[in-house]
């Protein structure tokens, strides 16, 4: 009798195993930091599409700074419980790939033809060692300049400045007319976002060497000192309340007609739309000033990385999630909500997208053709976090320390990065 019992048990076990593989119910648990407000609404759309495609949707969203999400990721990995899907970007994709824990998406990528539709600069980030390990969700443009039409009109300015010289001249006019020239809220990432645009606009080669490659001499160079000096001039045109001001409060200064210009990435669009502001009548958008006369684009992209799993449900779920993320429908719906543009370049933006988003896609193409497309340091797309953190500390210190000279800042930044090498 015992023999039969064993046989029966064995048969049951086998059938369960096969049954499991055959009937794997795709499920996932996405770990991300888009916890609240419009970001959460955008992710909710992903959930809806995932569920509609037959998957079981779970998510763990962690509010606050990215560090919290990364802390959870690390804790889960150390506990032996890596999450099936995580929001990771930039050089971190490569770093985690090096640990060998990430899942390979090449099969799906080839089947779906991702190599043909994703921007080339981005592909390098998603394929750190030649294999697809991340699915990009969007492309953000960092080097936007936003302007209040009302303030520009009242100050007698008819067009947005194209070079930094023009920008400075415009600020003099605006200040003379009694307005604040630049709206700003100082935090490490907002200070760095503005500085990204300054360095890039003044000298694209300097940007590439210093912020993309992390070259210490470039950080110490005269070009960098000039960039800091330009930044110091611009800080003079900001109001004294910048420390601790939330970025959306700074945006409100522009939209309410107190300030003229605002430097921020395209997630501004979500807020502008929510506030009912119209492009062309209430605000204007254009690329931040560049001194080398071509279309320029600083890119930031959100993406999802997948960690290898043991549970077949999660494994199935990963493929489904990657597919959903890269689908044109999701890319359209998600980016309409977020203000960015799809990571797929073959998506049509003519309906449902803001005029600045359409411009963003056009400029992206133009920038690729002109060879001026770069990734953003401020938004963690270029150097490793340990260098980026060191750079951003100095940049934000510079913004908040009136007597710190450009030379001091450049040297401090170079020293800080060097210390991490």
């Amino acid at each position: 009798m015992r023999k039969y019992a064993y046989l029966a048990a064995g048969a049951v076990a086998l059938s369960l195993a096969f049954g499991a593989a055959a009937n794997a119910q795709p499920k996932t648990n996405l770990l991300h930091q888009w916890d609240n407000g419009s970001d959460a609404a955008a992710i909710a759309k992903l959930g809806e599409m995932y569920t509609a495609a037959g998957g079981e949707w779970h998510q763990t969203s962690i509010a606050g700074h990215t560090a919290n999400t990364l802390a959870k990721l690390r804790a889960d990995v150390v506990a032996g419980n890596a999450p099936p899907a995580v929001q990771l970007k930039g050089p971190e994709i490569a770093e985690w790939n090096d640990t060998g824990m990430t899942a390979n998406l090449d099969e799906l990528a080839t089947a779906e033809g991702w190599d043909k539709v994703v921007a080339p600069e981005l592909i390098a980030v998603m394929k750190p060692k030649g294999s697809w390990v991340a699915a990009p969700m969007n492309i953000h443009r960092v080097n936007w300049l936003w302007a209040s039409k009302a303030v520009l009109d009242k100050s007698g300015i008819t067009a947005l400045p194209k070079t930094w010289e023009e920008f400075n001249a415009d600020c003099e006019k605006i200040a003379a007319a009694g307005f604040i020239c630049i709206a700003h809220g100082s935090a490490d990432w907002t200070d760095a976002t503005t500085f990204d645009s300054i360095v890039y606009g003044m000298d694209i080669d300097l940007y590439r060497k210093a912020f993309v490659e992390g070259d210490v001499d470039a950080l110490r160079s005269d070009g960098m000192i000039k960039a800091f000096d330009q930044y110091r001039k611009m800080i003079g045109w900001m109001d004294p309340g910048i420390p601790g001001r939330a970025w959306d409060a700074a945006l409100a200064m522009m939209t309410s007609g107190k300030a003229a210009f605002f430097f921020m990435g395209d997630w501004t669009i979500g807020t502008l739309n929510a506030g009912g502001f119209k492009e062309g009548t209430d605000y204007l958008c254009d690329q931040a000033p560049v001194d080398w006369g071509k279309p320029g684009y600083i890119l930031n992209a959100d993406s999802v990385v997948f960690f290898t799993q043991k549970d077949p449900d999660y494994i199935e779920g990963q493929a489904l999630l990657a597919k959903t993320i890269m689908s044109p429908e999701f890319q359209t719906v998600f980016n309409q909500a977020k203000g960015s543009i799809p990571a797929r370049m073959d998506v049509d933006l003519s309906t449902g997208f803001n005029a600045c988003q359409v411009k963003s896609q056009k400029d992206l193409q133009a920038s690729i053709e002109a060879g001026t497309l770069v990734r953003s340091m401020a938004h963690n797309m270029t150097v490793l976090q340990k260098y980026r953190g060191a750079m951003m500390e100095v940049i934000t210190e510079f913004v908040n320390t009136p007597d710190m000279s450009g030379e001091d800042a450049a040297n401090a930044m170079a020293d800080a990065v060097e210390a991490q090498m």
């Binding site: 309340g241 420390p243 500390e393």
Partner: protein, 313 residues
């Protein structure tokens, strides 16, 4: 007292095996053992692991290759760490001293037979029920020059009123002190009040008979009698100071720039944001060293006092 008599009394019957006797003798230790095990792992085990990691080349994840003290060296070359460590001592001392002073003051005030004591107590005590994140956020709103206290007072008419410490590199740390004291001094007050209430009345009566003034009575008799309370309050405030993290993140995000950054924030940033676990571990060990810099002298002093008092008989 031997355990056998206890057993004989409570068992009231047949003798038990020797094995059971031995177990019963050690019941207290056995019951304590799991807590001891967990606590020791928590305190010593975690610290030892952190120390080992600080000497390793851990970056994204913990790894165990030994590299020596290079992380400590690079830590001290980091401007932000130096600012954070300085802030720990500056904030820590102001916070503890301020908390003790205000807590004591409030306790003495309430002790003056004021009416509605429970209301006052509740008002001063409730902040501790609020989480640090909320405290930091609300005080951030209050300190904001454009939408907080400064703006409000200006709308009342004093258009030159300035209270923009939170945007000032040199003064922002004091906003952290104000907020921290707001949170915890109520607890200090509660402890002091309890202590004041338990002072022996005979001592006070004797001093009164001798004709001592109120100030002398407090200074010479009451305060020394509650010396152990001071220790307790300082311990509680000190551990809050060391762990300060959520409060600062919510209040100033370590700004303006890096002016109010604290060691716990740097540890977190290195370990998790930047994927430099070894450096973060080194920073954590430095925090513990600062702590021991305070605890060890106290330990010696307490031990010396007990010996002195024992010698006095």
């Amino acid at each position: 007292m031997s355990s056998t008599s206890i057993l004989a009394g409570s068992a009231g019957g047949a003798p038990r095996s020797r094995w059971l006797w031995r177990i019963t003798e050690y019941v207290p230790q056995i019951m304590l053992a799991p807590s001891v095990l967990f606590s020791f792992v928590y305190v010593f085990g975690f610290t030892a692991w952190t120390f080992y990691i600080s000497l390793s080349n851990s970056s994204l994840l913990p790894t165990y290759d030994f590299v020596g003290f290079e992380h400590y060296a690079s830590l001290w070359e980091n401007r932000r760490w130096v600012v954070a460590y300085t802030n720990l001592f500056l904030f820590g001392s102001l916070y503890v001293i301020g908390g003790v002073a205000i807590g004591l003051l409030l306790a003495i005030l309430i002790d003056q037979r004021v009416k509605g004591e429970s209301i006052w107590r509740t008002i001063y005590l409730y902040p501790l029920a609020v989480s640090f994140v909320v405290t930091g956020t609300v005080w951030n709103w209050l300190f904001s020059p454009t939408s907080g206290i400064q703006a409000f007072v200006r709308t009342l008419g004093w258009t030159d009123f300035r209270f923009d410490w939170i945007t000032d590199r040199n003064f922002a740390i004091y906003t952290v002190v104000i907020t921290g004291i707001w949170q915890a001094s109520g607890f200090a007050m509660a402890l002091f009040l309890a202590g004041l209430r338990s002072v022996d009345h005979d001592l006070i009566k004797a001093a009164q008979i001798d004709g001592a003034g109120m100030r002398r009575i407090y200074w010479r008799i009451v305060l020394p009698a509650i010396r152990p309370i001071f220790i307790a309050v300082i311990v509680i405030l000190l551990q809050y100071a060391i762990k300060t993290f959520d409060l600062v993140v919510a209040l100033t995000v370590g700004g303006p720039g890096i002016a109010t950054t604290m060691p716990a924030i740097v540890v977190y940033d290195f370990m998790f944001q930047r994927g430099q676990i070894a450096e973060g571990a080194a920073a954590a060990i430095m925090i513990l060293i600062a702590l021991f810099g305070v605890l060890v002298p106290y330990g010696f002093w307490a031990w010396w006092r007990t010996r002195r008092e024992a010698a006095r008989g």
